[in-house]
């Protein structure tokens, strides 16, 4: 793989582990994203298949703070938000217009903190602090464009409605959720909403024509909005200007990670963290949950027997996972400690009675090249737009563990049951925005 760093697997494993499980004050794993298109909006493509660029001008929609002081968001200005989302917009070939009057789109940006159900007491209304756009400021910033007559006030009205709605039962809808009873909404969430309107249509007919909208949010707990926003926007940008097909959950890399680095490392080092047992019935892998490493053991044929185990070693990170001959999962930690688990996720002593010692799995490196090529050929037809890596197989070479990346969000793990030509999606691991 071209992006493979010139260092040994163990060292790379450590780096990945470090990136995934850095300080516990950061890094919720999953962001909720929902996007929709409307009024027949579609992206045109250039002859080479790439997206036809569209220009935009950003417009401040409004900021809604929570009741609790949070400097990571309270101190953010529209300019800060603008800077954080420009790159992700450009990823989808939305380019900032040199001349705001000729832009294709005007994108209204709202951001803030949702409120948990406990906050929805009537008395809390007055506590809401909403920063609203000053029309004069808009006019000053965008002299002479078609919104002079009514634009700011039109959007201001939206901003007011928006802030009012945020304290009602519409929070869920505004953040792309179907229902306010969704368990994720029981806690505070940072959110951003982008509403993209057809600017030229507005100039022509004075009618607002909403073309697309994107709503993304992440739990406030353990996250800092100013640090997470660029990654949040980057992960969500995959859906800008298209329909997400409902609410999607995507892993967000930790705030301190360079996005580019995660892109390449995520694909390289998954093998060390996901393994298929020699019988082909179980997969063990490590994922990050609430910024802590979690061992997941999946029974491919009996999903109800999925087991998880938290890694109990603060300051020490997993850097390898393997199956022992005795059918235990052995997790090697950066502290040189080895942890053993049975398939139900219970701690077991490695080398103890029935514990076995060495891994008998066939890592991908030991699979014959033609075998790998055959599996990759078969699976690339199943995932025409994804990168598929064969991570290993069972001892009979009937089942193969695959990592599939290249889509939005997390890399997905699959087991291909070749005799039945059946794929099992067995988990999410790593991040590849």
């Amino acid at each position: 793989m071209a992006s493979r760093p010139a260092i040994g697997p163990r060292a790379v494993g450590l780096i990945v582990a470090a990136l995934l499980w850095l300080p516990a004050s950061r890094g919720e794993s999953f962001e909720a994203v929902s996007s929709r298109v409307s009024n027949g909006y579609t992206r045109s493509r250039l002859p080479d298949g790439s997206l036809q660029p569209e220009t935009y001008v950003l417009r401040e929609g409004g900021f809604l703070s929570g009741e609790i002081k949070d400097e990571t968001i309270d101190n953010m200005t529209f300019r800060d938000v603008e800077q954080a989302i420009e790159g992700p917009l450009a990823n989808r070939r939305y380019l900032k217009a040199a001349d705001p009057r000729s832009a294709n789109l005007v994108i209204a940006v709202y951001w803030g903190t949702s409120r948990a159900p406990a906050e929805r007491a009537p008395g809390s209304l007055a506590a809401q602090k909403t920063e609203r756009l000053a029309p004069a400021r808009w006019l000053a910033q965008h002299p002479g464009d078609g919104f002079r007559d009514r634009g700011p006030w039109a959007f201001q009205a939206k901003g007011n409605a928006f802030s009012q709605e945020m304290i009602g039962d519409e929070d869920a809808t505004l953040m792309g959720y179907d229902s306010a009873s969704d368990p994720e909404l029981r806690t505070y969430r940072y959110f951003v909403v982008l509403l993209a309107y057809d600017l030229q249509e507005f100039k022509k007919s004075k009618k607002e024509k909403l073309l697309w909208q994107a709503r993304f949010s992440i739990g406030q707990h353990h996250n800092q909005f100013d640090k997470q926003l660029p990654q949040m926007a980057l992960v969500a940008s995959r859906y800008f200007g298209q329909d997400s097909g409902g609410l999607r959950h995507n892993a967000v890399p930790d705030g301190s990670v360079e996005i580019g680095a995660v892109k390449s490392l995520g694909a390289v080092d998954l093998p060390n963290f996901a393994v298929l047992d020699p019988d082909g019935t179980h997969v063990a892998y490590v994922r990050s949950v609430d910024s802590s490493p979690m061992l997941v053991i999946v029974d491919v044929d009996r999903p109800e027997r999925m087991a998880t185990a938290k890694m109990p070693s603060p300051g020490s990170l997993p850097n390898n996972v393997a199956w022992t001959e005795g059918g235990l999962v052995q997790v090697s930690m950066s502290s040189s400690e080895s942890l053993g688990y049975d398939v139900d996720g219970r701690r077991r002593k490695i080398g103890g009675p029935g514990g076995g010692s060495a891994s008998t799995t066939k890592p991908s490196a030991n699979l014959a090249a033609p075998e790998i090529a055959n599996v990759q050929k078969a699976t690339s037809k199943k995932f025409p737009h994804r990168r598929v890596a064969v991570l290993g197989s069972d001892s009979q070479s009937h089942r193969f563990l695959l990592s599939v990346s290249g889509g939005a969000g997390s890399t997905r793990l699959f087991v291909l049951d070749q005799p039945n030509d059946l794929l099992f999606e067995v988990g999410l691991s790593g991040s590849s925005p």
Binding site: R36, V37, S38, T42, D178, S179, Q242, D243, S244, G245, G246, L247, R248, H249, V283, R287, V296, V298, D299, V300, P303, E304, M306, T308, K381, K382, F383, P384, H385, R386, G406, G407, A408, R412, N420, D421, L422, L423, F424, E425, V426, G427, L428
Partner: protein, 564 residues
């Protein structure tokens, strides 16, 4: 109905175990038991309950009922309400519609002592009337279908029905709904009929709960695990393996189970409101997939995402689908007006029973041919007997003509149909049988040189074809006959005739012969793009190597080699 009248019930079972034939018992009640397709003639004693038939024709339904009037009304009301419900979440054009009314023979379970033991045992085996969950799922008990119309035999558990007013718990049986979907032309892909039917059966009840139960997925345990942890493992097919025309063949049972469950999930996802205009996208895609190759490009044009993104979206939706009930939309509750029930005339009873008896012949011939003469005799007694008694209802004449054709008396059938145009008009199938006979005559006695038929001969055939196509549903045979006429005329088809052939090829793309005929005429007349479309569709569908070769030959001739 008179007391002590001899009455007949004919019941066809799709899967019946007993091949034995016990004909003409000598006991006093003259019971004739003919499994597996039971026809019973039963002399009912005066003191016994006996069926008193009532009759109604209302819209697309014809009812012959031995149930009490209020039960019959409740049944029809439930049926109508369910039709209205269905129309809320599936386009009308996706369901079979017939101009000829669907005939329902409604029999109360309480009268089962009037039918023989063999039949009673078979009825007990029927799962429909008291299915799991207590919903009443009729319309699939016993169904005999011709290309232009259906006859259904429904057993009503009248005791329970009356007590619980189960009209409000009426739900079409899954196989009946599947039949309605799969009989539509062009045939919708099987992932759709499977997925939609499964989704439909999750309809919540009573209806004012307004929605659908959560997705049952593969099992309760699997669903529960997904609810608990959204990353729980699941077997999941790529979209290109899901969106195939026919259910997967040659795959494991597990694979097929996944395919069916995922088909339901796909339909549910599209209808869930999570996708902008998801419903319209689904309809557009399903309709397109019925008549053209399913490609990722087609999918993307409908859903705005590629196969991989759709697979991911679907997989991500699954954990929510297994716990979240889906909201309507449901039809506004409206009480359909009662139907106009009245006592059935002896002619109506004989006509309907006779037509049922005629339809049964096909099944008897397939499963128990040795019993066929008895069934033929009974149907003849009803249909010919009614005719001999002076009944000239066009529907009776059409049934009698079709019966004669089924029993190889084509001349007798033709005499009836030629003498009574109204008879042919009442049944598109009869109209097409007449067309077929006329075409056969024309081909064997061509009026033009070189074995070609004349315009007069052609129009004699095409008048019938056109008349049949004025009614619903379009029948494949009509287009086959039209293609036969074009083949034997000494000229190219007119634009109108060619349009009809192309229409037939579009509606029945599985009929590769028809498709080849139409494409060949298209090429000859310079309609290259239409020809290309048909050939592409044909190559997509064709399984027969000779037909495939013909299509490839067509593909390589004329302007096709360069112009497309």
């Amino acid at each position: 109905m008179k007391h002590s009248v001899a009455w007949m019930t004919a019941v066809a079972f799709v899967a019946v175990s007993q091949p034995a034939l016990r004909a003409a018992d000598q006991d006093t009640e003259h019971v004739t038991v003919l499994p597996p397709f039971l026809v019973e003639e039963h002399e009912v004693k005066d003191w016994m309950n006996h069926p008193i038939w009532s009759y109604a024709q209302s819209g697309d339904l014809e009812i012959l009922s031995a149930c009490a009037d209020d039960e019959t009304q409740l049944f029809v009301q439930g049926l109508r309400e369910q039709q209205a419900e269905l129309s809320q979440f599936i386009p009308d054009e996706f369901l079979l519609h017939t101009t000829v009314p669907t005939t329902i023979i409604l029999l109360p379970k309480s009268l089962k002592q009037t039918i023989d033991e063999e039949l009673s045992r078979e009825l007990e085996k029927l799962p429909a009337a008291a299915s799991a969950g207590g919903r009443f799922q009729p319309m699939d008990d016993l169904r005999l279908t011709d290309p232009d119309s259906s006859y259904l035999f429904v057993i009503l558990d009248d005791a329970a029905w009356k007590m619980t007013k189960r009209g409000s718990e009426f739900i079409f049986s899954p196989t009946y709904l599947r039949f309605l979907i799969e009989s539509r032309a062009p045939t919708l892909p099987e992932w759709f009929s499977t997925g939609f039917t499964r989704f439909y059966t999750s309809l919540l009840y009573p209806w004012d709960r307004n929605g659908f139960e959560p997705d049952p997925w593969l099992s309760r345990d699997a669903a529960s695990m997904l609810h608990h942890d959204a990353t729980a493992p699941r077997p999941f097919l790529p979209m290109m393996e899901l969106l195939i025309q026919r259910a997967p063949a040659g795959k494991s049972e597990e694979y097929q189970r996944v395919w069916e469950a995922q088909a339901e999930l796909f339909v549910r996802w599209a209808l869930s409101g999570r996708l902008t205009d998801g419903k319209e996208r689904l309809w557009r895609f399903a309709a397109a997939a019925a008549s053209q190759p399913v490609t990722e490009k087609l999918f993307q044009s409908c859903f705005g995402m590629d196969f991989d993104d759709a697979r991911d979206a679907l997989s991500d939706y699954l954990p929510r689908a297994v716990w979240e009930p889906l909201k309507g939309p449901m039809a506004p509750r409206a009480d359909p007006p009662p139907i106009d029930l009245r006592g059935a005339t002896p002619e109506e009873v004989r006509r309907i029973k006779g037509e049922w008896g005629r339809r049964v012949l096909r099944v008897v011939n397939q499963y128990n041919p040795v019993a066929l003469p008895l069934y033929v005799e009974q149907a003849s007694r009803l249909l010919q007997g009614s005719y001999d008694a002076g009944d000239r209802d066009p529907r009776l004449l059409a049934s009698l003509a079709l019966f004669r054709i089924d029993t190889n008396d084509k001349e007798g059938a033709r005499a009836l149909l030629e003498a009574s145009p109204a008879a042919a008009e009442s049944r598109p199938l009869a109209e097409l049988e007449l067309a077929s006979m006329r075409l056969s005559d024309a081909v064997h006695g061509p009026a033009e040189k070189h074995g070609m038929i004349s315009e007069a001969q052609a129009s004699g055939v095409m008048d019938c074809v056109t008349a049949s196509l004025r009614q619903q549903p379009p029948i494949e045979g009509a287009y086959v006959i039209a293609a036969g006429v074009s083949k034997h005329l000494a000229r190219d088809p007119t634009a109108e005739e060619l349009a009809r052939l192309n229409e037939g090829a579009r509606l029945f793309p599985q009929n590769t012969k028809l498709l080849i005929e139409a494409a060949a005429w298209d090429l000859r007349t310079g309609a290259v793009s239409e020809a290309r479309r048909l050939i592409e569709t044909g190559l997509w569908n064709a399984t027969d190597s000779a037909e495939r070769k013909k299509l490839e030959e067509l593909e390589s001739v004329g302007p096709l080699g360069t112009g497309w």
